[in-house]
Every structure is written in C-alpha cells, then in structure tokens.
C-alpha cells in the first residue's frame, strides 16, 4: 500500500502574537505627528525707523506680569479680544468723500477706531514675566481676527474661504497655471486686510 504523506502544516497560531508584539513595540516608541503652530514674521532689525501713526490707527495690546490683558486702555478677557480686534480693523472710519474710504468694510465707522484696514496697526507688548501661553493666546486671537475678515472677503469675491485657497496653494499636486491663479487671489485678499502686527521691545522692570 502506498504511503500517503500529508505535508506537515506549520502552526501559524503564534504568528498573531508575534505581530501583536511588533505592533505594541511601535505604539510605544512612536508618536503621531502633531506639528502645527502659529506662523509669524517678526520685523527685521532696523533701528532708525520713525513713522507717525495716528492714535486711532493703533490698537495696543499689552500683557502685564500678572497675565492681565489690556487693549485700548481697558483690561479685557481674552475671549472678547477677537471681537474687539475685528471691530478695530474693520472700522473704516474715513468719511466716504475721501480717497482712503473703505468700501468693503462692515464696521461701525467710529471716529476713535481705525481709518481703514490698510492703516490699522496692532501692537502686542508683553512684559518679561508674563507667561508664554497668554502671549500665544493673544497672537492666536489677533490672527483669528484677520482670518475671519479675510474669509469673509474671500467668500464674497471668490466663493471659497481664505484658508481653503491657502491650503490649496501649498498643495504640491496642482498645476502651475492654477498656482498663479491662486496666488493672485491670495494677494488680492491679503491686500484688502494686510496683517500689520508690531512687537515692540519688552519693557524692563
């Protein structure tokens, strides 16, 4: 009688355990990437710059050592900061006969806030002992205010948000033609609401 040999099967039951061990090893030694942050351009190191700014066009934000935030001479909460900054930038206070009149602004056109978004300057000052998260929060709110206004104008002009255009522009897969078009749009919106943020030297005390 012929001896039928059934080929021996390798037991794969422990394979799962090995794979689990590998999986757990990778879970422990790696971390999911979370690299994101607030991009800022700090002003270059020029010493003798003297520009006269009207007081109404300057929105001063200061943070003191006790982490209180002061904006336009009153202590405010960081939650209200964004609203205030938006109201300031979007004010468009110049009368409609003048050349600098802001046609797209939707602000209240008050006499004590900025003349138009192009002239509006925001200054963020911090003392040496104020804490970093508060500073980041203030930066965040100011940039949030700009993004809000830019999004609004972008929706009006191009029917997409500014952030969508921005992320599309940095996408590698688009053609050169599209890139030029997107760049034009970005520049149009940036020209409507240019970011003018000053960061003067901290006060020593």
């Amino acid at each position: 009688m012929k001896n039928y040999r059934v080929p021996q099967e390798v037991n794969a039951g422990s394979m799962a355990d090995i794979a689990f061990l590998l999986l757990i090893f990778f879970l422990v030694t790696t971390s999911i990437e979370n690299e994101a942050g607030i991009n800022r351009l700090i002003p270059p190191d020029i010493i003798d710059t003297h520009v006269d700014i009207k007081e109404r066009n300057l929105f001063e934000i200061s943070i003191n050592n006790a982490d209180y935030i002061m904006a336009k001479d009153e202590i405010i909460d960081s939650k209200n900061l964004r609203e205030k900054v938006i109201a300031f930038i979007d004010n468009g206070g110049v009368s409609s006969e003048k050349e600098a009149y802001c046609t797209y602004c939707k602000g209240n056109r008050l006499a004590e806030l900025s003349e138009n978004p192009d002239k509006a300057i925001i200054s963020i000052k911090a003392q040496r002992n104020s804490s970093y998260p508060v500073y980041v929060t203030v930066q965040n709110e100011v940039i949030g205010a700009y993004n809000f206004l830019r999004n609004r104008e972008s929706l009006r002009l191009f029917n997409t948000t500014y952030e969508a255009i921005n992320s599309q522009y940095y996408n590698e897969e688009i053609s050169d033609y599209q890139k030029i078009k997107l760049k034009e749009r970005l520049e149009t919106i940036r020209a409507l609401y240019p970011q003018k943020i000053l960061e003067p030297e901290t006060v020593n005390n």
Partner: protein, 160 residues
Amino acid sequence: MIKFTKYRFSKSLPPVSTASLPDIVFILLFFFMTVTVIKNQNLLVENTLPTATETEKLDKKDRVIEIYVGRPSTDSNSNLGDEPRIRMDDKFITVDEVSDYALQALALMPQHLRSVATVSIKADIGVKMGIIEDLKSQLCMVNLLKINYTTFEGEALSDL
C-alpha cells in the same frame, strides 16, 4: 423517517479559523508604522505646548529649525534648577549662543531652502516671555524672521 437530529450530535461546530488574524494585526502594524514618527531622543526639557486654534501645519521637515524651551526635566537633570533653558542640537545652550547655533543649522540646509527656513519655537507652557523675547531678538540678529510658535491644536487658553 427523516432524522433531524442527525447532524446535531454527530458533528460539533467547526472551530473559527484564526489564520487571518496575523494579517489583520499586520495591517494594523503597517498603519501605525506609516502614520507615526519615531520619538525624538531625550528632550532634556519639559515640553507641554500651549494650545491655539488658528494654526498652520508645519509639515516640511527639511526647512525647520527646532528650538525647545522649558525647565529641565526632573528625571535626567536634577541639579540644573528650575529656570527655563534652551535646548538646541541635543544640548543646553545659553541665549547668546542661539544665533550661532541657528546659523549652523542654516548652513546645513540646502541652498534653495535657506530663504524659506522657519524657526519652530517649542516652548513649554511654564515659560515666561522674557526668554522668548531674548530668543526672538537673537533670531532677528541673524535675519531668521519666519517664526512658528508651535502649539497643539485646541481651544486656546480661556481661564485667565
């Protein structure tokens, strides 16, 4: 007469095959291998980033210079005190050395990336603004003006 009970007694349920279990686990493994990065070597400083909402992604690693600021972590250096320190290039450096090290890092970059180099400041939430301001003026001196305050995504600090 048909015996309905025939199979019930003669055969038990076949065992569930676990042959595909390794495959499933391997798929999981490959997923994790692709979406994660291997942790940085010992950080030396405490590093809990603040949170912000208006963040932009910092995905192009080749043009980023990293600076960590924080107080020395307790497990590795117990004799260094509580003052926040700057860590660059895997070691502690003083504020005055920041510009030198930044230029060094810049010199290691390919030529076409130098003009778009970004400095990522990874500062701990316990850091005061003084050291950050010094850092900024140092970077300003060597004309590295693109700064990224690296944060976690999330609701910005609300209880001040």
